[in-house]
Point group: C2
Chain length 618, copies 2
């Protein structure tokens, strides 16, 4: 079986041996394999290094491994209480329609396994091509193990393309016997979804030094405000005389029960210019917040919902402590409380693992993407609206060392309308490399991801971050900003050696946006409001969103000059002219990834046919 599975698409350059092999495989598949061998020995734990429960009760447990040489994933699915079968599969955003499914079903007497797909109405169909390849099934005391294999990319247009980034896994449990695959009623199933990064990079966890210590930066006993969005600020401080250390790992500390409320957390170090900072624990936008806290903007650690512990690469650590560095830290927690719970107490924060044995390089975090400003907005009712943030050549030229920096991890961030985020490196106008891409991005699964390949960025390079949004459920424009119903487009990249550059982000020039408002108001014969007291969000909310106004907004964003934030911290820009900067121009784009589907075989091999015409031109 495994033999047959290793060449799912052998069409492109049909060699004789392969054709013969295919021939015998087909015969075998039809005539011989009626029963799958029940393997005697359990697969070793190390065979499947990644594991996730699919359902909240843990009845279904998925383990898997990734083979990059084979371009395939091997799955081991443990079904603790098998009833009459189950569905397991993948779809764009976790929906049961248009899904790619492996199905195990029983008619009460016999059991079957097959590769299927669901159409837009949720009706199941057998795939014309079976790409979930069953490798084995085994009963054990804890349940039934199913072992199967799936290539990243198949040649079947009904199949899901397994890509980097988020994969929405879906499962459904068959509680009654079914006559056939087609008889399964998806809408009646008990099922759900689980988001995972299926294609984990081949990176081993670095060894941790023996002198490692931990420190918890948590805001003790916060009463989460009964409002949808709160940014909570809490000041902590390092012991006096704390020397320079390297943070080599950190992980979230989330108060049990508050997992759905703690949206993201960041630890910032304060500016060294001040000897002391006031203690504070309260909302970041409170009038009571001391102004000096605005000088605490150097990111030490960042975590967002869905992320796991974060490890620095062996050659780098994040510096903190020591002379020239402030003892004061600001913890910022974004509480997302849409159900407006009252009196909920929280003591979440981040646990830092650090060492005094400094690694060769200091690491840093840099924000790419869009400035948090309402000038970048998405019209309502869009299924696929793209906003782009730029880190320009001018900024990298000024801020990066000649030897460049190495990006080793990335955390993509948007609010609820985000659907895709991609950052691309461009050099001399040509896109060279994807820094990080998630084409099934979910704001509910914002991990920090180690990159498969470290990306080298040199002075003069451009980093272009595009975010795709869906606002089909919204009736008014979504503007950029901090609120959960406002939007962000950010890629926090983790890199070394650390530089002063903390923010390399852009937004459209506000003057050009003003021209846009005037233009569409005039064009649509609307009452022209140029009264300066009307805010940018109010202007966006008042636009009648016809196709023309939508199209022209897109044209504006892809044409108008930008305002650059090329900043040492949120508040301090690098010296230079950063307003009305030209948009980076791209002359050569990377190709969109698609299923690598080789052509089907022709009738003849790729060799010339000799002709016996005698000598020509005798």
């Amino acid at each position: 079986m495994q033999n047959s599975g290793s060449k799912p698409c052998s069409c492109p350059s049909l060699k004789l041996r392969e054709v013969a092999s295919m021939y015998f495989t087909m015969v075998a598949a039809f005539l011989v394999i009626l029963v799958v061998a029940l393997q005697g020995s359990a697969p070793r734990q190390s065979d499947f290094p990644y594991k996730v429960p699919l359902d909240p009760q843990g009845l279904l447990e998925l383990s898997w491994n990734v083979s990059y040489p084979e371009q395939a994933v091997h799955f081991q699915l443990l079904i603790r209480e098998l009833q009459f079968g189950l569905l397991f599969g993948m779809s764009d955003r976790g929906e049961f329609e248009n899904a790619d499914l492996a199905v195990l079903w029983s008619d009460g007497h016999n059991s079957y396994f097959g590769d299927a797909w669901s159409d837009a109405k949720g009706q199941l169909h057998m795939d014309s091509q079976q790409d979930y390849q069953l490798l084995g099934a085994r009963r054990a005391p804890e349940g039934l193990y199913l072992l199967f294999r799936r290539a990243f990319s198949t040649c079947d247009p009904k199949d899901y393309l397994i890509e980097d980034g988020t994969v929405h896994l879906i499962y459904g449990i068959l509680e009654k016997p079914v006559r056939s695959l087609q008889a399964i009623n998806i809408s009646a199933l008990h099922g759900g979804l689980q988001r995972v990064q299926l294609l984990k990079p081949n990176i081993s966890i670095p060894q941790l030094p023996s002198d490692m210590k931990t420190m918890e930066i948590t805001a003790p006993d916060v009463v989460i405000p009964s409002q949808e969005t709160t940014y909570w600020c809490y000041m902590a401080e390092l012991p006096e005389g704390f020397p320079k250390h390297h943070i080599i790992m950190y992980e979230p500390v989330v108060t049990a029960g508050n997992e759905a409320l703690v949206h993201h957390m960041e630890v910032f170090q304060c500016a060294a210019q001040f000897d002391s900072f006031p203690h504070y624990s309260g909302p970041c936008d409170s009038k009571m917040k001391p102004d000096r806290l605005n000088y605490c903007r150097h990111v030490l650690a960042a975590w967002a919902m869905g992320a796991q512990a974060f490890y620095y690469p062996e050659e780098a650590g994040l510096a903190f402590g020591g002379p020239g560095s402030s003892r004061y830290l600001r913890l910022e927690i974004h509480y997302h409380n849409p159900l407006v719970f009252k009196g909920r107490r929280d003591s979440s924060g981040i646990r830092l693992y650090y060492t005094a044995t400094l690694r060769p390089y200091d690491a840093g975090i840099m924000e790419l993407g869009l400035v948090y400003t309402p000038v970048m907005a998405i019209p309502p009712g869009e299924d696929n609206f793209i906003l782009t943030g730029y880190c320009t050549d001018k900024c990298t030229q000024l801020a990066l060392p000649a030897a460049g920096i190495r990006i080793f991890a990335s955390q993509l961030h948007t609010h609820l309308a985000g659907r895709k985020v991609v950052t691309v490196l461009s050099r001399e106008g040509r896109e060279r490399q994807v820094v990080n891409a998630d084409r099934h991005y979910s704001p509910h699964f914002q991990e920090i991801r180690m990159l498969k390949e470290v990306v080298a960025v040199f002075p003069g390079d451009e980093l272009i971050t595009t975010c795709t949004y869906n606002t089909e459920d919204r009736s008014r424009a979504t503007v950029g900003g901090f609120g959960i119903l406002e939007e962000m487009c950010v890629n926090y990249v983790h890199y070394y050696p650390q530089t002063q550059l903390e923010l390399c982000k852009s937004a459209v020039d506000p003057g050009y946006l003003h021209r846009y408002f005037n233009l569409v108001n005039r064009f649509n014969d609307e009452e022209i409001c140029m009264c300066p007291q009307v805010s940018v969000p109010q202007q966006f909310y008042s636009i009648p969103w016809n196709t023309f106004n939508r199209d022209v907004l897109k044209s504006l964003y892809s044409f108008a000059p930008i305002s650059m934030h090329c900043n040492k911290s949120s508040a301090v820009r690098f010296p230079g002219e950063w307003e009305k900067q030209p948009l980076p121009s791209i002359t050569e784009r990377l190709r969109e990834p698609g299923p690598r589907c080789p052509p089907a075989p022709g009738a003849q091999p790729a060799a010339p046919v000799p002709l016996n015409l005698g000598r020509l031109r005798r």
Copy 2:
């Protein structure tokens, strides 16, 4: 060989028999076929009903047939003086780069045949999949015949997709022996291109009645003006008392030597309301032209460069003569004289074949697409700019009979920048059927084409004509109009039964275009010119063509209301409000045609795999 060729893409649903057959085919291809059988008997003439010389001297002659059941073309290529081989193939617009080629070459000793492709630099490569299938080669007194077959659509991404409409055939002659395919230097070849409609419809020429007569409407002894564009008007008249006849066929009469100057010709019938029309032979835009000639706008016959004789379907003919119809005809000839020849004399025109035995239906010609007006313009430097003309539901509701009309032929027309023309029928907002499509349209090959399928159009239907233009070689905007460097977007559809509707065309509302000019001038901080004496072309010429102004023009054309010409003749509209009409909205589009490339085979057939798990849930 033919056996193996009939299933070029057998991957999709691999059946056992096919796999076995493929296996033996491959063995055969590798080991057995070293010499192509030299057929003993010549193929019959009727096997290849279509014929065209490829080169101006007629050394290469291509005959072909089309098998719609097999979805394949069989070619017979006669090479009169074979030297060391030749290239024959197809490409998007007749270029030798990115072409799909069948190559016959000789190294001086042996000859070879193969399916190849040329890359963007003109370098030849062997196709991984051989889709030009050699069926035979035969020496005859007149030369060498090569017989080969090509499916319309292959699974090879390097292959040309044979579609309806124009196909640009290319040929090249090898004058020296070559070591290998790769050694062929395309740029040094003697070669050229020939445009043909490869996929001729399966329509037989209707029988012509025995009482058929002919009449030539020609402008005698015109001295073609020494200027690039001339529309020549010539008045002719039918004999007094000429009764109603049916035109059942017509063909061009082009003065020998002027084939490249006579761009298109039309015969119009004058309005019956006037008893007589002045004789006139001169430019249509001359001040000397009598105004009354503007009442001669009912199309009787239309021909354009590249078209052949035109036959009406057996059940219809074009009525002329008889009471209520004018005796006066206006012949309009568009002379295109870019080299400004002086004193060239011409007596071209159209020869009508007509009968007194009336057929069941009167036929008519209707113009779809865009009004000839500068408000529809294409920015310079565009490789792919689309303009759309509408025939709205409101117009067809008013002008078409309840039983509808049948479109049986169509002639697409643009000037030099035209690259594609497509007309689609839409009903209740859903695109239903392609009326005529040419995705490799050339303004130098404007045939009237019989449709494969007659298209029924009912009151309330919409006919949407899109033209795609390339203005990469131009430095200023191309506006709509009559000049050869201005543009048109027209589909002349031939239909029956005849109605009063002669023109169903649109253009953007001029008021909205005016808003566009104001808008881009303001946006770009240009001096705002709203002076009414500046013409629309001058306004277009003065626009700085940045991406914003281009994008917004596209947005305007796909948003702004239209001015409809729903006309009985160019000068007379149907009663109703035709200004500021809403654009037809399309909720469902037809899919773009693409290569129908089935998926490559999976490792397993499409059948569930039975498992022996015992009874579940015991």
